[in-house]
């Protein structure tokens, strides 16, 4: 029987991906093209993030995988299993214990440290795609720092709704140079990218791009002086289990009473807070 290589990919492929990462770190926010490999999981299911993780991971690493804030959702479990099966590394649900955190659509609530790398899965790396479908043209706009289209898009939303309607994946300006999609994290998480201690890497497998925000980089959400950037508001709502209000909340419906209630979206953080509460009580 054939042995699957350590971390699945052949060594030349991993080397190529690491070279793309280095280029991305050197040019914060710039989308580095790379020859994305086909992975055993679906394109659009985190193959960009997975390739970054596999290219970086060594036997000493500890891996945490998050999908929309949860460690035990289908895809997070699946990705974790695949990496573990091909590397044998330790996995964890605790943010602070992980050396590599691969995440889809969330930056953990627990602050990251300089010992850590955050890998984000990216469905659409191109912030200008909504206004220009041609890759040939968007590439030129970036080269010429021609971002009026991105601002115009937000301006039109404000004209129409008196506020932006971008939802998640709200574009940011990195290091004063490149406009970048932060992946579909809620706007709530955008400020966490600014001057983060950890290296943040973005992998788009289907679109074949890798980009990076090195530690302590200036990252500003696009906005206007008279219409500043606003994160999701959960005014007056708290997590039913922990009482926390300064976190991103999931909206749920109580099956018995039919009432709407809220829970902390970052499940591992919620469990840690709950565990501490129990410990204090005892």
């Amino acid at each position: 029987m054939r042995e699957v290589p350590f971390a699945l990919l052949d060594e030349q492929s991993k080397k190529e991906i690491r070279r793309a990462i280095l280029k991305g770190v050197a040019i914060p926010g710039y989308q580095v093209p790379f020859a994305s490999r086909e992975m055993p999981i679906g394109r659009g299911w985190g193959t960009g993030g997975l390739q970054l993780t596999l290219a970086l991971i060594g036997k000493e690493d500890t891996l945490k995988v998050i999908d929309q804030g949860a460690d035990d959702s289908v895809n997070a479990v699946n990705i974790k299993k695949l990496v573990q099966k091909t590397t044998g590394v330790q996995t964890t649900t605790h943010t602070q214990e992980a050396s590599i955190v691969q995440s889809r659509h969330r930056i953990p609530e627990v602050p990251l440290t300089k010992e850590q790398i955050l890998v984000l899965q990216v469905p659409e790396p191109e912030p200008l795609r909504a206004i220009e479908r041609s890759e040939y043209k968007t590439k030129r706009y970036h080269a010429e720092k021609e971002y009026s289209g991105a601002y115009l898009m937000l301006f039109e939303q404000i004209m129409r709704y008196n506020q932006t309607s971008q939802g998640a994946d709200y574009p940011v300006l990195v290091n004063g140079r490149y406009v970048m999609n932060p992946s579909p994290i809620p706007r709530f998480d955008n400020p966490k990218i600014h001057h983060n201690e950890a290296l943040i890497l973005f992998g788009a497998g289907r679109e074949k791009k890798i980009y990076a925000v090195p530690p302590y980089t200036n990252v500003q959400s696009l906005a206007f002086e008279d219409y500043p950037f606003v994160v999701e508001q959960f005014a007056g709502k708290i997590c039913r289990e922990t009482g926390l209000s300064n976190v991103f909340l999931d909206e749920l419906t109580d099956e018995e009473t039919g009432e709407t209630y809220y829970l902390c979206n970052d499940t591992s953080y919620m469990e840690e807070v709950l565990a501490r509460k129990v410990a204090v009580k005892q």
């Binding site: 052949d10 020859a35 035990d72 959702s73 659509h105 040939y136 909340l249 999931d250």
Partner: protein, 362 residues
Amino acid sequence: MAYVAVRGGAEAIEASLEHLQYERVKDGAFVAVETLQATMRGFLDQVMSESSLYSEQLAALAMKQSEGNVEEAIFLLRAHRSTLPRLYYSTTTDARSMFVLRRISASFKDIPGGQILGASHDYLHRLLNFDLLQETVEDVAAQKAEFEAIEVPDNSVLQLEKLPKVMDYLRQEGLIREFPENDAEPSDITKESIAFPTNRSQRLQTLTRGQTGTVTSLGYAGLRGYGASHPTVGEVRVGWQSIHVALDDGDDPYYIGAIKLTEVESFIPVNVNGEDKQVVEFDVGYGACFGQNETKAIAMSIVDHALEVGGDTAIHDEEFVLLHIDTIESTGFISHLKMPHYVTFQSKLEQMRAIKREGKML
């Protein structure tokens, strides 16, 4: 994890995977990989072509493992490809030296070497053959023996590995628009992602790996008025193509095997500015793919030409065609919509409610 309603825990996933395994065996039936390899030519050819991995055995294995799901079989093979080091490129190979199993031309009745029909579904009445419901191993063996007892002349006059090309005949007459030879090293799209504008080798690679149905539909659109191409099939040839690898320049190349290949050259009339008048010449649209995939290869030749000459419809738009034609990418991204989008949806929801509350009246 009692307090989160909508998450698949590890146990649920395990159970789902077991369920899938059970589905494959629940009727107690068994089929050997060798059997699939021997009897499922068309499926294997399509899957090898779209996964761009030439191995009938692995394609049959993928078919068995995926319960005959084309999309999944291709997925398995592509993922397998990613674990393999890429060591060599073959030397240039020319289909003039193909050992031809089938070769037809729609342009000329009498082509040098003749029309060789080979094995094709084209001339078949597509009626279900209910006899196959009762077919046994013995029946197959008997049929096989019957066919193999047919007398064939010892010395065939046809040199099946030296059949001239229809195109060469037109070229000699000066009817094919001349282009300078392009023998530049092809770009390997699996080692470097394509950038726009693309070169032809990138386009041909992307098309030959493209999803059969998609390539066919785009070619069809080109015929139906969404393209400037009105091709005549100059030649379709299907056969065994020898592949060689040269380890270094001085050495003779090593023969590493033969692959079954379909190659198509379509003739497409174009207006060319002659010395003092407009003349019509032919362009050649090119299609080639692993296995016997004639529809795909013909459609590919149409799309190849459409991308080459440009135009203002979708099939002339290289970004539209090349970025959406890949089986793995299209099926992957469509299926990702089944993943949870709770956070992004919540973010949108919060904004919609705010806009409803405070938004400007238009």
